[in-house]
Symmetry: D2
Subunit: 439 residues, 4 copies
């Protein structure tokens, strides 16, 4: 692994990079995003939509209903005088975790709700959409409610990604290995060699500021003192991770955090969750396919990402390091609109051209585990009311991931975006990028 | 409770009694029984058919496929030279518990099989039916295979009943309490007062003999020495069970077996599984309905049935006692063909008429827990080959139930029939009839 | 395996057979049995006495206290006006499972009671003994209380055996494999070849009658119809069981009951609980010793005993069969007083002599699993009051074992004695004897 | 709650403050610390020393042996040519979690080790002490080994504290509520009113530097940018926490982190672990005593500490904030040498005197939960070899606590000391101090 000088020119458009579209008027944006959710369900049969493969996952039909509930509960009920809910029981059935709203159906039992069936849920979506659009078109939404509606669209995009990862998990549990879509794998492409870029550190700022949308957990923008560091030019590849496996990584406690090692032992982990025992194929949304040595390794838990980094003699970046590097890079990449449904090898940077320059793949392909526990920024204030439960109450036992994945919507991600999962979670498109402290 | 003299005239047709139809030619019987299974699924949406509400239950779609697999595995593969299975993976996916056939999909994961979807499973049923019927029509089935085919039909009828009780459990888990069918409850009818009939005991014979079909566990017919006993004229009613609840039965360890009491404590049992907390309504296949005080109490575990009997100062019958009494009674009752989907009050016997005489309700309405552990009869020999796993390997930790229920097919039940479940099972139509030792 | 004609001469004294001592006057018997319990604790350190190695087992100190509690609760409180208990909290702490007496310390937490410590428990024993002996010597005990006191002595003997098997389990969990006692293993002795004795069956009687003590579950004596059967001349040996292991028994689902196979898979069973992985040594109360091929296999669960019998093409006897055969045999054997602490090979019968004749080893060495679930005899009536909880409430999910073991007191066992454990229990000295139905 | 100006004079000696003794020569220090461990066991019976009340806790005897193993494994084996271990099996039995040393006895089974018994463990201690002291007296220890020996002494002090908290948990499980020691509670004393002191923040430094001992996780000293903040003058008291309970805190999901609320529901938490249901008494090392309203609330999980702070409209400090404030305060307080075995009310500061000034109780009484997840400092390097497992591998799923407790040795604690536990842990003397961001 070599370490190059710091590169910080703005990155150009890469082969897999989707141009970031300008934000549409809110009515169109609402239609577009709601429609995208329905579109993701098209390849699925009613049976696929109802089943829950593990407590962490939710049925696709539940995602369809819950995202609708969000608009009904937080926009229509709040902004429409005398609003009559589509069906009273849905307040209970499709509340995810908002204790302030009231009691809720138990999460591990979401998969038992064969009723309301798909067509009833579709009717629910249609009626709520009609109501929302009517208000939007009349331009009669108070500014507060308008902000919540925008939040609801970002919320919907989060569930779009979960819908895909939950379906992938469900199909992976099926010995028939069904494909979500029959998309053929892309033409082979070599990823660039691993190298590191240096960053000077110092007193930096992270967090969101300015006009665009962000979640409460990205605020306030604040100062952090940072030591000099280096960051890898791309995500760790399947080939590199295979070396770790073949080198006995899953059998060497010295590589692992104590809780990670306990998990490896207890769960019998021997490879990434969707890799076949041969280590030559992996299950993907397009079915079982050959493992691409150049593509980023994906579906790692934090424990695995951390163990790999330790084994490689490097470490994971902190979220501050990641954000500082990402702030200099255009937010393009292999997102869900690209229709690849899978991470792709990093594009090859062309010196002297406007093609992307390192760090590559900061956005899209795989979420990148950082070593930062998910905590509040200094001065953090959660949203008022029930929506204060959106992010703040999860600030323990989770690690931050950054950058979005091949299942993330293009308009959803940004450099300050903080995703978070518990360290044993493996069903997201989660990989890693190496970092080092400056020598 | 009064005790009358022994009555043993053959019973006449009761209001809820379905005439026992003569057995059809095998081809017709096959069509009829296979068709009945499909008929049971008609009120259900694809979503309802795929979900598994607990490890003990199976998805309806799985029942559809597994019963088909039974004919494919044990009839077509065995009897048809060069038979090409519908799909190789189904041998693994739809094997229930036959280790001799090979490895199998894990039972608690049956509900994850969204694929093959319903139409694929229907195609499977059609193709296997076509193959079976072709052989049957050519009359080319060897006698051994013919016997297995008949076994397969009884097997299918067992799964018809499970399909209904599994759906009932699934719907009961749904806060919307969906109804399987909208059938209105029957007109009220008073059950006769509780009384007991005496039986002299002595050296008796139980078990199946003769020409008709029976399972291996009903054989051989053998002698048992029996002390004199008395048997109740009908099943215990909801009203009687309500007295037990109101009298503090669920809080009195003295009524319970030690394992039963531990289960009550651990599971927080306070009433039968489908009763509402008000004790005035219960969930049924026709939705939530008022509790009928005259109808038999149903969906009891063995622990509850035994505790009730102890509380009432009586006991459960042994399976020998039950069979001796049942041998004198016509096999009529409230079976699945009656379309009640629920137990009915015992019919009122009319002295001097041909109307049913005690013991009433020996067949249909509810399976009756006996105090007999499920063991082999002396000289028991399981079927040869894989089908030896059908019954014999379950002969531990289970109790025998007798008589069939409102979800049992009329042609499926007989006096020697031995059903069995573990003592904590509550999702079958299981009730009880009281017995006493003669004073 | 050969089958011989029926042999039913009374058996003579075998080398390992302890002469059955005549019952002493009650005062002496009380002193003797209470003293024996204390004697069993002599090789143990205070640390050994306090720990509980699994929920099924109890600390030795708890046994010392609970058996004392039994006399205090059921004899002294009942028979002595104004009796002041040794310490009020002991009623709660040392109640085992008598709900009628009141609430109790949770069973799995018995091992947390470091206090009262050993000397306090010894003081408890001494004070209760003093009180009991004072009453006994004054001969002022009402007949009812006297009967309960006798029950208490048999109860104490049951706990003596449990104390030994619980300590054995505890020591087996310790990688140091400590020995309870340093007793050298006996001189090698060959067991006789396996053969079978025929019994005619018919209408027989089992259960206890007459003057001596018995538990309520041995009554009433009653008639049973029995088919002709054959019974093995001795218990199954280690060598025979080794064949089963080497023949792949633990990997062949066809040998196992369904629940047994599930247990094998889940627990990873590959051999009897105390055998070393080499299959050449086993852990015993005298430490690790070479496996004696001629000694009875011991510490089997019912599942293992049943699987072995199935594999051998035979079956386990019913408890009726066992009792009919045992009724003709003197109650002698390798009991705890012999000081072997381990099963011994069956003695070699000498034709024409008064030496023991088959069936050998009916008493002592190992408890023999029967295929009979533990149920009530027809007409069974539990003891009145709290002592009705002694036996009756366990009559589900357990199998009957017969004959006592090398850890049973000589004066405790008889042909009608019914021991019972759940089918997965392995920590008792439990083995098996084969049976067959007559051809 | 009022907020005062910043106070940062060095604190004087308070009534409960133990003068920090100068470090002794290493030989004396070794004798003193090893002797202190033995001293802590004096009030205990052998039974108390062997039992493990939960997987998180260890038996006192195990602490005695493991701390000895540490010296044997890391000092004697490393520094003494041809060292012959006391007993080979101890390497396995008393290894806690050092995978580099080899396999180890499973943690939840430490309580099954009745052997080696107490006297054998004492002999082990004596022999190892003799060996260590001989080397120390000859001054023949290489500098590296000398450092490890010093580490071993700090390690021993950590286990002294655990020994006390583990015994407290064990005794709390005993319905007899035994006292570790009979110490009467101290005379009542009012704690000062709650107030806050402001700190300016900026670019600060935390972490250990200089000559004294520290653990690897306290290094390197590094810069952190800190926003202005305020810190409470003392720990939260029982009276304050009682308000939270009485105000419904344990029933209000809005106060809790999501994982915390799930824990409250699942475990049925309603009050601190050792409080009696009356909320008027608590279990302590001196037995059940009246709850002192002025003493710091103790034995809180992180979830409870965080919920209280949220309910109070404040927050927990970060570890940086805590350390910055603590750096200005003398390291005195209610430590284990004080012999109180329990937290005491904060001393009353006397204006104008040399008596302690706010922040009070920074050291001793209770460990204070910070909101900081336990992570590595930038540039952290674990110790080389097996001792690298000491701290580093636990850096996930844990929160940092600061300041020591009434069970901590005086010479063990310092401002940079980082303790860590998982957020549900309640059996340590863990409380909290409130903080705020500057307005």
């Amino acid at each position: 692994m070599s370490s190059s000088g710091r590169r910080n020119e703005p990155a150009g458009a890469g082969p897999a990079g989707a141009e970031r579209a300008p934000r549409l008027p809110l009515t169109d944006e609402y239609r577009r995003i709601r429609g995208a959710t329905a579109g993701l369900c098209e390849p699925l049969a009613p049976e696929d939509l109802v089943v829950q493969s593990m407590p962490d996952a939710s049925p696709a039909k539940w995602h369809l209903a819950h995202t609708t509930w969000f608009f009904e509960e937080f926009v229509l009920r709040a902004a429409v005088d005398g609003y009559r809910p589509h069906r009273d029981e849905f307040r209970y059935l499709f509340n995810s975790y908002y204790n302030s709203v009231g009691p809720m159906h138990r999460r591990p039992q979401r998969g038992l709700l064969t009723r309301p069936n798909l067509s009833e849920v579709q009717a629910y979506r249609e009626q709520v959409d009609e109501n929302v659009l009517r208000i939007l078109e009349r331009d009669s939404l108070p500014p507060d409610a308008r902000e919540v509606l925008v939040l609801g669209l970002h919320h919907e995009q989060q569930h779009q990604e979960l819908l895909l990862t939950d379906i992938k998990h469900l199909f992976a549990c099926n010995p028939l290995h069904p494909a979500y879509t029959k998309q053929p794998p892309p033409a082979p492409r070599a990823a660039p060699a691993l190298s590191f870029t240096g960053y000077p550190g110092g007193l930096v700022e992270i967090g969101h500021s300015g006009a665009g949308f962000c979640f409460d957990n990205e605020q306030p923008r604040h100062r952090v003192h940072l030591e000099p560091f280096q960051l890898a030019n791309r995500a760790v590849t399947n080939a590199e991770y295979l070396e770790f496996i073949r080198g006995g990584g899953y059998g060497s406690p010295a590589c692992w955090l104590s809780d990670g090692w306990a998990t490896v032992q207890q769960e019998g982990w021997e490879r990434p969750i969707y890799w076949m025992p041969t280590l030559e194929e992996e299950f993907s949304l397009t079915g079982v396919r050959a493992l691409d040595p150049h593509a980023p390794v994906s579906h790692l838990s934090y424990y695995e990402a951390d163990a790999f980094a330790r084994w490689a003699g490097e470490r994971l970046p902190t979220e501050t390091e990641w954000e500082i590097a990402a702030a200099e890079v255009a937010c393009r990449g292999n997102f869900v609109e690209g229709g690849h449904w899978h991470p792709l090898p990093a594009p090859y940077p062309t010196p002297g051209s406007t093609a992307p320059q390192p760090p590559l793949q900061m956005f899209g392909d795989v979420w990148e585990w950082t070593q930062s526990p998910y905590t509040s920024y200094p001065g953090f204030a959660p949203l008022r009311g029930a929506l204060g439960e959106y992010n703040g109450k999860f600030m323990v036992n989770q690690l931050v991931l950054r950058g979005g994945s091949c299942a993330t919507a293009t308009s959803h991600i940004r450099a300050t975006y903080r995703n978070f999962f518990n360290p044993a979670a493996r069903w997201q498109f989660s990989g890693l990028r190496l970092a080092r402290s400056a020598q």
